[in-house]
Each structure stands twice: as structure tokens, then as C-alpha cells.
Amino acid sequence: MKLHTIDIPMIVLPFFSSVVSVSGCGSGDVAIDSLDARVSEAISTVVTVSWNTDTEASGYVEYGSADGAFDQATPVELVPALEHSVHVLGLRANTDYFMRVVLSDEDGGGVSETMLVTTGGLPVDLPTLTVSGSGNDRYMVLPLIGTTTGPVIVDPEGEYVWYHIDDSNLDVYRARLSNDGESLLYNAASVSGDPAADSRLVRVALDGSWESTIPIPLLAHDFVELPDGTIAAIVVEYRDYEGADLRGDSIVEVAPDGTQTTVWSAWDCYDPDVTGVDPEYGWTFANAMDYDPDEDAYYLSLRNFSSIVKIDRTSGECLWALGGTVGTVSITADSDIFLHEHQFEFRDGAVLVFDNDGASGTTSRVLEYSFDEQAGTAEQIWSYTPDPSIYSWVLGDVARMENGDTFVTWSVKGQVERVSQDLQVGWQLNTDLGYALGFDTLETDLYK
């Protein structure tokens, strides 16, 4: 096996970079030419492999950190082409990787020569992550909020594999890989005090080579991307109430062509005369959202109501609400009740809720209810309160794994835990002092 290695050491450039180029190789019927592997100058843990073929072909990149152990691979290219370029993701900093191009079986299954690529170092602005325990198998797409703010991707062992530092002086609360697999989306906003007039959704190429923004004034905590690429975001909506602006919320959709449409307003579902108004936080204070493609419905957490409401996307009708001021679902009397919740997750006839304030004292917790949507009933079936207690007075996230474990993000504490059904913490991640976390988007695979 022929090995090509060319290292360009960093001197004053921001990141160490490595470039490998090979011409004229491949062992199949289709010739692979101009093979090149290049560490991104913007994100030192992303490598772009490019190559040409003499006939239209589809291929992918195999790679691993030990020669001969190509235990990871990018997806096969969907469209046969002569010129190919693939981003290799999930790589750690300052690490050697062996990479090669493999053509699909339909194209003869040819294999290129092996390249050794060394990723660069991390920017010094990123906080150290401390991990204990084992058993995690998820990537985390996490906003860092602190001295350095921006979205990062952390691998299951707690190592950075992607980063982008946001210099807007806004906070970042949610980051998601885009459906098309080409970029990462995040919101840059402010939810502490008045919302920001210059808030925006930001899209960053996975190799960091480009960035685009969608200005949306008064963005709040969360957004989702729908299957067709439409982005729906929570946006603060002020209306006059008793002679003064009162802070309500809306859902604004951004279509793939950029058109922005308000598809729901709290003002159309609820009445402040009936619900009352929080003198400190305004009226509804929506802070988390989800989308159900099967029912074309949004789920929205309204902090000040301590309610999670289901909204028909087409009509904007509020179908029902779980908990709190506007609750229509009957929760059994012996269940604990959540207060000022943030993230939640509906799944398999149950719902998980990150309960910021429902427990006595300064304690946050996770509650799980069985949930019968047709009957409109819910009953608590599980809860988790860490010992010693943790208080996350803002943000916080929960997600259930297939094996029953629960991912809990104690945002203010900069701590993520994977907790078993019997309340054992098997894996934990912590940030340095000075760094909180936004909502946690979990991924089993970084390739879409």
C-alpha cells in the first residue's frame, strides 16, 4: 500500500492544515484521478476529499484512525458524476486519519490509494469538556453559551468534532444539522430581558466555507426544520394590552425561498384577560417547540402558562394543552406538576418534560407522564431529580433513548447526563466554569 503524507505545519495561520494530493489511482474499472484531501481552514476537524473519475460514477470515502481499519464511511454519493467532493465529518482534532475513496459496486467498486490526513488543532476559545462514565452513543449538537458562544458538535466520547464561534454578541440556544446534510442551522438571539431586534437564523456550511443569515427580529429560544426545508421559529409578538405592549409569541415559518409567514399567534388562541399576565416575563413566553410531520402539528411550550400546547399547523388552532394555566389534558391528582418547563418530548404514548421549577426549592427535575391523547389524560410514570439537586432556572432539555436511558441537559450547569430508568447516571459531560449549554440535539450519525 502506498502512503502519501504531506503536512503543512501551522506557523501563524489559525489552524493546522494538512493537504494530501494523489494523481492517477484506483483499482477498479473506473479510474480515480486528482485525489485530494484537505483539512478545512475554518473547521480543523472537517476534511474534504475530492477526486475525479473518467466516467460518471458514485463513490464514498472510507476512513479510520488506524491504517487498514476503515471503520467509518461517508454515504454513497446519490448522483453519479465526474467530479466528486465529500466532507468527512466526526473527526477529532490533532488526529491522524487514513482515508480512501471507494466507488460503488455499480461502478466497479474501485478503491483509491490510501491517504494519511492529520486534522488541525481546536481554537483556544473552546472550553474544555470533562467526561465521566461510558455507554453514550450519540453525537450532541450543542450551543455553547458563555465567554465563547456558538454551536459545536461533540462526539459520543465528549470530543469536539465540529465548531463555529458566533461573534454577534447574541446567545445561541438551538443548533441542528440541516435536512440536506450540507449545513448546520442555529439561532442567534436573546431571551434574557428584551428580545433582540437583530436576531437571526444562521446557516453554516459543514466545512465552514460559507455562512448565510436569515434576519428575523425578536427570535426566541427554539426552531425546527420541516422535511421540506421550511424553518419554523418561535418569535416574540407584542400587541397592545391595556395601553402597553404585552409580550406574546408567534410561530414564523421561513420557506425555502425565503418567504416569511406567521402561521400561529398566541393572541389568536388565548386571552390575557383570562390567563393573566406575568409581571416579570410578559405573557406567554414560548420557549421550546417540536414538529410532528405525521400530523402536521407543532408542539409549543409556554413557560408562563406552564403548558405545552399542540397546534394545528394549517389552521393555527390550539388543539389541546398539557398542564398549567391553559391545560385541557387531565393529569391524575397524584402526579407531580411541572412549572416553567422548557424542552419536552412526546413519544410512544408518553411525554418527557424538563421541569425547571416544579419541585420545591431551587431544584429542577425531569418528569415523564403516560399520555393518552384521545382520552385527554396523563399520569406521571417516572421522574429524575439528581442528588445533589441541580437548578437550571432557564433552558434544559430531555430526550429518551431506545434502551430507556434519558438524556438530560442541565443547561445552566453546563452538564449533560445519560440516566438509566433506575436513575443511574452512566455518562456525564461538564463544561468549564463560565459556559452554559443551550438545547441539545442528538444525532446517531452526522451524515444525512
Binding site: 505545519p9 489559525p14 480543523s44 488543532g121 481554537p123 483556544v124 465567554t147 445533589p388 445552566v412 463544561t431
Partner: protein, 339 residues
């Protein structure tokens, strides 16, 4: 939500550019370190080009942070003043009116004062260690009340959040308002139910930091007086404390010349290395594991070569770490390249 990351090394420049044409190596290097380096490269081969730094080149230090503590009444508003804060934790002069821009109160619910001091010394505090943060942008004041502290516009509820059961409270006074940068003074507040003291006067910071730096035990680094110098720390494994080196934290290179001084002089005034330097060349980094010293600047010109009668040091620093000591520091021994 966030806590602070004291502190950025104060960067000051003094003196003029290095004198030229002097015979090297330095007197200090020769007499105090027993080096055999000499002009003309008789016995020691100097290094240029890419220079691999080794753990054996690193200095040793023992450091502690002894934060003063003030006992106060519990669950009561406090009068907090810093007009007596005329020096910072590095014993550098400070103008309390001009230099203190923000005062923050951080609560550690589970840690003792000793735990917090240890965490500050070793840069091992986690965000999970705190459960409260409020601040007061001074805007020219030198006194305020605890009840004036806020977090993003939310006012502190003093009885609820400042009391004997709340844990350890650390008051942090900073230059600048960026969270985690520019710490000048630290003081514990200790709410105690038996106390009726509602006055907090922050005193001068001399003595908070206690460092003993050993600049003699390391292997000094022979370096050629002329040429190019790319220092590479990829093989370093330990910092000066002997802890595992977090090399990703290195974000600043300092190359200092101390004309007419000895290594003993530097040891004695270790916290003043930036202030004492005759010439200080500096380079901010964004990452990586090497740096071209030719890119380091004294503010007017780039570093171009070693000369002068005195001591040269090279330091790799972490501006965002709590412990202000460099992660790596070595004494350089400039020598003429062998012919």
C-alpha cells in the same frame, strides 16, 4: 448563568528594543545556570528553525490562591465598596474608580472556600459547581448595594439567594465587562446568621496570589541569535505545576528580555514578568501547536534576533485560565550559530 474566568495577563511594554552587537549568551545563563554556551557556538549547538519544546525545558512552580473572606449578616442587603482596592491580586497598582468595571457574585452550593481556592489554583472549576451568578456594572461607582446586583435584568432576591445555607459566595471584581476576563480581585463573602455586619470593604489584592517559581531546575534552551525560530510545543505533556498540559489552552506567546537582570531577579518578581521586561514581544494565537517568534511584536516591531546582556525567557500562556502563571516558561540561552 455564567461565571467568570479571571483573568487576562496584564500586557505592558517597557523599555526600548534590544541592544545589538553584544556577546551572547547572557551573563545570567552562564553564571547561574552553569551553561556552557558561549559566543561562536564553541560547546553548545544552538537551535533555530523548528524548535521542539520539551517538558524538561519547563519551569516548576507551586502556586496557591488565598482569597480573603469577609463575614457578613445573612439574608440582608450589604454595602459593598472597593475604594480601598489599590492593587490587584498580582500586587499591581490599580485605580478602583477607573479599573473596576464589573463586580460579580458567584455562588458555589457544594464547595467550601478551600475547594474554590483549589479549583482556582488548578483551573479545575466546572460550570456545574455554581448555581448562581449576579453582577453589578460599576459605571464609575466604587460602592453599591448587594440588592443592586442583577442577572440579565433580574434583580437578586437577597433573602432567598444570599444566606448562610447557600454555600460559598465569591465576589469577583474585573476590568472589563466580558464575563470571565480581567479578574483583578477575589473576596469570599460568608453570610452568617450571628453576624450583623452589612459592610463589605474590599481591600488591596497583594498577597492573594502566592507563587514560588523555580527557574533554575529546568534545562535551559540554547537558541541561535539569528535565523528563524518556530517554537513547537506538540511534545509538551505537563504544565509548570506538573499537571497534564491542556495544550489547546495556549493562546499567547511571550518572549521577554530583561537587560542586566538575573534569573534570580525574575524568580523574585515572578508576578511582574511583563512589567519588568526591558522588551516584551508578544503573539496572540488562535490555535495550533507552534508559533513563529518572528511574528511576535513589541508593539512597534517584530522580533528579529537575540541580543543584549541579560535574561531571555519564552512563555506560553493561557489568557482565559484562572491561574495567571504561564503553562510553559523557559530560560533561553542565545548563542551564535556554529560556523
Amino acid at each position: 448563568m455564567q461565571s467568570s474566568r479571571p483573568r487576562r495577563f496584564t500586557v505592558l511594554h517597557s523599555g526600548s528594543g534590544p541592544a545589538r552587537g553584544m556577546c551572547l549568551p547572557t551573563l545570567a545563563g552562564t553564571l547561574l545556570l552553569g551553561s556552557l554556551a558561549a559566543c561562536g557556538g564553541d560547546d553548545v549547538e544552538c537551535e533555530s528553525g523548528t524548535i521542539l519544546l520539551q517538558d524538561s525545558n519547563n519551569f516548576n512552580y507551586q502556586g496557591s490562591i488565598d482569597v480573603p473572606s469577609i463575614t457578613t449578616a445573612s439574608a440582608m442587603d450589604l454595602d459593598i465598596c472597593w475604594e480601598q482596592l489599590v492593587s490587584d491580586i498580582q500586587c499591581h497598582d490599580l485605580d478602583p474608580l477607573e479599573d473596576i468595571d464589573n463586580v460579580a457574585l458567584i455562588r458555589f452550593p457544594q464547595l467550601s472556600q478551600e475547594d474554590v481556592e483549589y479549583g482556582l489554583s488548578n483551573d479545575s472549576l466546572l460550570q456545574a459547581d455554581i448555581d448562581g451568578y449576579v453582577e453589578y456594572p460599576t459605571q464609575g461607582d466604587t460602592c453599591t448595594n448587594l440588592s443592586e446586583f442583577t442577572f440579565f435584568g433580574t434583580v437578586i432576591d437577597v433573602p432567598e439567594q444570599y444566606n448562610e445555607e447557600g454555600g460559598t459566595y465569591l465576589l469577583l471584581l474585573t476590568t472589563g465587562t466580558e464575563v470571565g476576563v480581567g479578574a483583578r480581585m477575589l473576596t469570599f463573602l460568608e453570610p452568617t446568621s450571628s453576624s450583623d455586619n452589612t459592610t463589605v470593604d474590599i481591600s488591596a489584592g497583594c498577597g492573594v496570589l502566592d507563587f514560588e517559581a523555580d527557574l533554575h531546575s529546568m534545562e535551559t534552551l540554547p537558541i541561535c541569535t539569528d535565523g528563524t525560530w518556530t517554537v513547537d510545543w506538540s511534545e509538551l505533556t505537563l504544565d509548570g505545576l506538573g499537571n497534564e498540559l491542556e495544550s489547546d489552552n495556549i493562546d499567547h506567546v511571550m518572549l521577554g528580555f530583561y537587560e542586566g537582570m538575573t534569573v534570580d531577579d525574575l524568580e523574585a518578581q515572578f508576578l511582574d514578568l511583563e512589567l519588568m521586561a526591558t522588551t516584551l514581544y508578544e503573539l496572540d494565537l488562535e490555535g495550533g501547536s507552534s508559533a513563529d517568534l518572528g511574528q511576535a511584536s513589541d508593539g512597534t516591531s517584530y522580533f528579529s534576533g537575540f541580543s543584549g546582556d541579560g535574561v531571555w525567557i519564552l512563555a506560553l500562556q493561557c489568557s482565559r485560565c484562572y491561574n495567571p502563571a504561564p503553562l510553559f516558561l523557559t530560560v533561553l540561552e542565545p548563542a551564535e550559530p556554529a560556523e
